[in-house]
């Protein structure tokens, strides 16, 4: 069983624990099984228990921890709030987990240049809270934004409903400070303005799922709050009508800020819980938002209204005020919580397809559900073709869980078949590594492996992610991890000079 800390009582494990306690303080290191068990899961259906958990407070400490872990040959991985949905922040092969919750300071707000410099443990929504008084917000808004951290968002290149017009995390990050896994070296990539003037390393590290480096500081763009916002709820009798509407909106070149679909089955579960105002007898609703200059918003909303009605929307309602708008979004963003009330296991899938293939794909998902004996709900980012089929299962019933995994793989396979991809915003992580060959060849894997090894040559950082087992690295570690006797000590690496952080 991965994650069972068989080596807890060895001398070297105790030595590493003590060294970490000395570096960080006793309260910042967890090593007892009852503590570690809290870190063996995330928002996904996967598990993996770390052997140790440490809470660094500074970049220098992160660097020192990396060196210590290397000395004891202990794999490491970073973790934010643990809300990820693909197992990216799980210790698949045990090891030392760095949790960034203490590095949660906003270091700089530069409104003139519309930038903020933040530590990785800052919660996504807290950036917006810190800047909204000045008329700004941080645009990427994953449903988990009340708890997920910017560090995790960067690792997974998180999306959200409003990324349709505004882009995902990578479009909003201009610079990073990183700690490299090989020797704890601290490096900076990108700049406040953002143009790389060389290779776009920032673009590579964002979305690398914590497999290339540990991110210790992030420069993000702040977006000006739009002058006008209109939120529309379009109510349809059938899922088909709603998805034809989305395809038509896209084809006509209208880019709403958000275009979310909830099918009838899902919205009834949500409405029971949140009372957001979704009509209980509808087949599907679209939650649409347009934003920007007042004159543009008015004409876009009118065009969308017309398209919805042309596709047999029985009602198109415009939120009258912020209160109604917030309530509609509360319904959307708490949908997974609402589903949690009726099933012990929720498997939120994440596939992506060309928008024009939406109607046929939703029909195929229903067929797959029937085939595997599930009622599959859909609440998702329809505007960018990012599907989130939801399979509810009984957590205690392994047979059901295995069936859910098979249904998921079938859906993802279909996404690829129609020209789509494996994941739109959750990441590959542990969940989908075995599906990667649907898209990539052995030559592709060899190449990705070379890029991986350029930064993480010993696979000491977050092993067992992204690459299918056997094509990446870290498989040998997928057994209970035994803490090694420390290697003979070379001269202790000096702490990085302050100048590195001060640039």
């Amino acid at each position: 069983m991965p994650g069972v800390p068989t080596s807890r009582d060895t001398k070297s494990h105790r030595d590493l624990t003590r060294a970490l306690q000395k570096l960080l303080g006793k309260n910042a290191v967890l090593s007892r099984p009852e503590d570690l068990i809290l870190y063996e899961y995330d928002g996904s259906v996967e598990k993996g228990r770390p052997d140790l958990v440490a809470f660094p407070g500074t970049t220098a400490e992160v660097s020192e921890i990396v060196r210590l872990a290397a000395k004891y040959d202990m794999p490491i991985l970073g973790r934010g709030a643990g809300t990820g949905l693909s197992g990216g922040a799980l210790a698949r092969s045990g090891g030392l987990m760095l949790v960034f919750s203490r590095m949660n300071r906003i270091l700089e707000l530069d409104f003139d240049n519309q930038r903020a410099v933040v530590q990785p443990g800052v919660v996504n929504l807290d950036i917006t809270r810190a800047v909204e008084h000045a008329g700004f917000y941080f645009a990427p808004d994953p449903s988990s934004q009340k708890s997920s951290t910017i560090g995790g968002n960067v690792a997974e290149n998180a999306g959200g409903p409003h990324t349709l017009a505004n882009g995902v995390t990578t479009n909003h990050v201009t610079a990073l400070e990183l700690v490299l896994p090989s020797d704890g070296e601290i490096v900076r990539v990108g700049s406040k303005q953002g143009d790389s003037c060389s290779y776009d390393l920032t673009g590579l590290f964002v979305g690398s799922e914590g497999t290339l480096a540990l991110v210790t500081e992030i420069t993000v763009k702040l977006t000006r709050k739009p002058e006008a916002i209109k939120t529309l709820l379009a109510v349809f009798e059938t899922v088909d009508d709603a998805s034809e509407t989305v395809a038509d909106i896209t084809a006509r070149g209208i880019t709403p800020a958000a275009c979310e679909m909830l099918d009838g089955w899902t919205l009834r579960v949500i409405e029971d819980y949140i009372h957001a105002g979704f009509p209980m007898d509808s087949g599907a609703v679209l939650l649409l938002e347009v934003e920007g200059m007042l004159e543009a918003v008015t004409s876009q909303a009118a065009a969308i209204d017309e398209i919805c009605r042309a596709h047999k929307a029985r009602e198109v309602r415009v939120a009258r005020d912020d209160k109604e708008r917030d309530l509609l979004w509360k319904g959307r963003k708490n949908s997974f919580g609402a589903l949690g009330r009726i099933a012990s296991g929720i498997y939120v899938l994440d596939g992506v397809i060309p928008r024009s293939k939406l109607p046929q794909t939703l029909r195929r998902i229903q067929e797959i559900g029937t085939q595997f004996g599930f009622n599959i709900g859909n609440v998702f980012h329809a505007g960018d073709g990012n599907l989130h089929p939801i399979v509810l299962y009984d957590l205690r019933d392994n047979e059901q869980f295995q069936r859910a995994l098979k249904a998921s793989a079938e859906i993802i396979r279909y996404c690829v078949e129609v020209g789509g991809s494996l994941t739109g915003e959750h990441g590959i992580g542990m969940e989908k590594s075995e599906l990667m060959p649907l898209l990539f060849s052995d030559a592709d894997f060899d190449f990705m492996r070379r890029v991986h090894d350029a930064f993480n040559p010993k696979c000491s950082l977050n092993p067992g992610k992204i690459f299918p087992l056997g094509k990446g690295c870290g498989e040998t570690r997928l057994k209970p991890h035994h803490v090694q006797t420390p290697k003979p000590e070379p001269a202790t690496a000096p702490a990085p000079p302050a100048s590195v952080n001060a640039t």
């Binding site: 999306g159 303005q193 590579l204 024009s356 960018d384 070379r450 350029a454």
Partner: protein, 506 residues
């Protein structure tokens, strides 16, 4: 080092078969010359497979390769230390996929950019890449060169709309990255590394883009300001207003001469006054929006002491002005003697201080200097090194010109920015490139690691100056930068002269 021998030619020709074109030691090799260096041979594969075959062959024979499109922006690439084979990819110009209803397109790297946009225009769509040498450029060369498009103010840069790519790595393997859907986090974003890689990493064979609806009716606004402070202050006010124009640039008089001789519909635009700075912006929308843009832009300009203001409503005239702005780099290269063009990447609020310094550099060195300060950050600087030696008419790498480069570097660093050499006369280009790459600090070490992952045989050119010594990883990042030593060792430049600039704290 090896060159293309006769037997190698024969072997490669037998590998390629009849469809590909392979020419060695012929006169027209010079078409592919880069900074005066011609390849021994050029190869024009008819398919991606053939292109990969050529790269594999080159790897086996230890030949250096430069991937090439329409040859319009070779000046962006580093001067090659070796140059055996020019890999002409212009025959890879197919449309693999275009789904107008999905707003995505996938094309071969050799597809001419203008041809692509003509095809997209039929569906009222386009790829918002208005780059210099637009009418000749291939899409592959455009991405590899990574030059700026004025439209980035509204649409971002290629990193925001390039969805995926296929390329040939330095082993000759055909690699795929990303996809053709608008939202995708499957695997590493390797395609982002190709942007601005100038042929140093891989031979790009296919590119997938998000397309955009063509803007509605577009109009423009040109205003003259008494100095850069007022022009930039007006620009900052627009940035922080609800207005979202398509382009938003401040130009000094030298740069604004781009528009010389132009007419605003029937009325000619008054002559550019050499003491003025100009704000040029384009915006689009319905009638209400256009009216609001014109009203509010005029108000903002007025608050910032603007003199002459011109509303540009004639679409033909405006399109012609936009084309001149798009071609600014080409214009400077053609109209300046011994042109040096530099991009300075600084956050926009720092542009006023940067302009102060640029002005003093230009005055001190008596260099004519053209400046385009783009709202999203980059400042394009063009100068002519010839005027300092106007008597002889010869451009030289005088102390003043290297001082110019050093001071631009100091300027970039003092605000935590970056400097990049876009174009320079061949004889000073390596030295200038080395100087500007100092602004990248520790990233150069990481860039080398990327380079070895993409191109383990060092078949493609390197971004760093030729013969760069592999530096121990520690030295660049963990010590305070010692800029001059490395550069001086590689380029015989005199050590960095003391800078006359006021020191700035970022």
């Amino acid at each position: 080092m090896s060159a293309v021998t006769d037997s190698a030619v024969a072997r490669l020709e037998s590998v390629l078969g009849a469809n590909a074109i392979f020419v060695a030691k012929a006169a027209n090799r010079e078409l592919y010359a880069l900074d005066g260096v011609s390849p021994t041979a050029f190869a024009k594969p008819a398919s991606t497979e053939q292109a990969a075959e050529i790269v594999r062959f080159a790897a086996k024979e230890n030949l250096s390769v430069i991937p090439i499109g329409a040859r319009t922006k070779l000046f962006c690439a580093p001067t090659p230390a070796r140059y055996d084979v020019a890999l002409d990819l212009t025959a890879l110009d197919d449309v693999a996929h275009y789904d107008p209803a999905d707003l995505t397109v996938s094309v071969g790297a050799g597809m001419p950019l203008a041809k692509l946009n003509t095809m997209l225009r039929e569906q009222n769509q386009f790829v918002p890449l208005l780059v210099p040498y637009y009418t000749q450029s291939t899409i592959g060369g455009t991405i590899a060169a990574g030059l700026d498009s004025p439209l980035r103010n509204a649409y971002g840069t290629p990193r925001d709309f390039l969805l995926g790519a296929e390329f040939i790595d330095g082993n000759g393997a055909q690699i795929k990255t990303g996809g053709r859907v608008v939202k995708n986090v499957t695997g590493y974003d390797l395609h982002k590394l190709l942007i601005g890689s100038c042929g140093t990493l891989a031979a790009i064979t296919r590119l997938n883009f998000r397309t955009f609806p063509l803007p509605a009716t577009t109009q423009g606004f040109l205003a003259a300001f008494p100095d850069y402070k007022s022009a930039l202050s007006a620009r900052q006010k627009v940035i922080h207003s609800p207005l979202v124009p398509l382009t938003l640039d401040v130009l000094n008089a030298q740069a604004a001469r781009l528009f010389d001789g132009h007419t605003n519909g029937t009325a000619p635009i008054p002559e550019i006054d050499s003491n003025h700075w100009y704000l040029f912006t384009e915006f689009s929308g319905n009638e209400d929006l256009l009216a609001r843009y014109k009203r509010e832009l005029a108000e903002i300009a007025d608050q910032s002491q603007a003199g002459d203001m011109h509303i540009l409503e004639d679409s033909t005239a405006l399109a012609a002005m936009a084309a001149r702005l798009r071609e600014s780099i080409a214009h400077f290269r053609e109209h300046f003697a011994a042109p040096v063009i530099v991009k300075l990447a600084l956050p926009p609020a720092q542009h006023t201080q940067a302009a102060t310094v640029l002005q003093s550099i230009a005055d001190a060195a008596k260099l004519p200097i053209a400046v385009i300060a783009r709202a999203s950050g980059p400042i394009l600087i063009a100068t002519s090194l010839q005027s300092e030696h106007s008597a002889s008419g010869e451009a030289t790498d005088s102390p003043i010109s290297s001082l110019f480069a050093r001071e631009i570097l100091t300027l970039a660093r003092s605000f935590g920015g970056r400097a990049q050499l876009i174009s320079a006369p061949p004889h000073i280009k390596p030295a200038y490139r080395t100087i500007f790459r100092e602004s990248l600090a520790s990233e150069r070490t990481l860039a080398r690691r990327i380079k070895s992952a993409f191109d383990p045989n060092n078949l493609f050119p390197t971004l760093d100056a030729p013969a760069a010594q592999p530096t121990p990883p520690k030295s660049e990042t963990s010590q305070s930068p010692s800029p001059s030593s490395e550069a001086a060792a590689q380029t015989d430049l005199p050590p960095s002269p003391p800078t006359p600039l006021p020191s700035k704290q970022s």
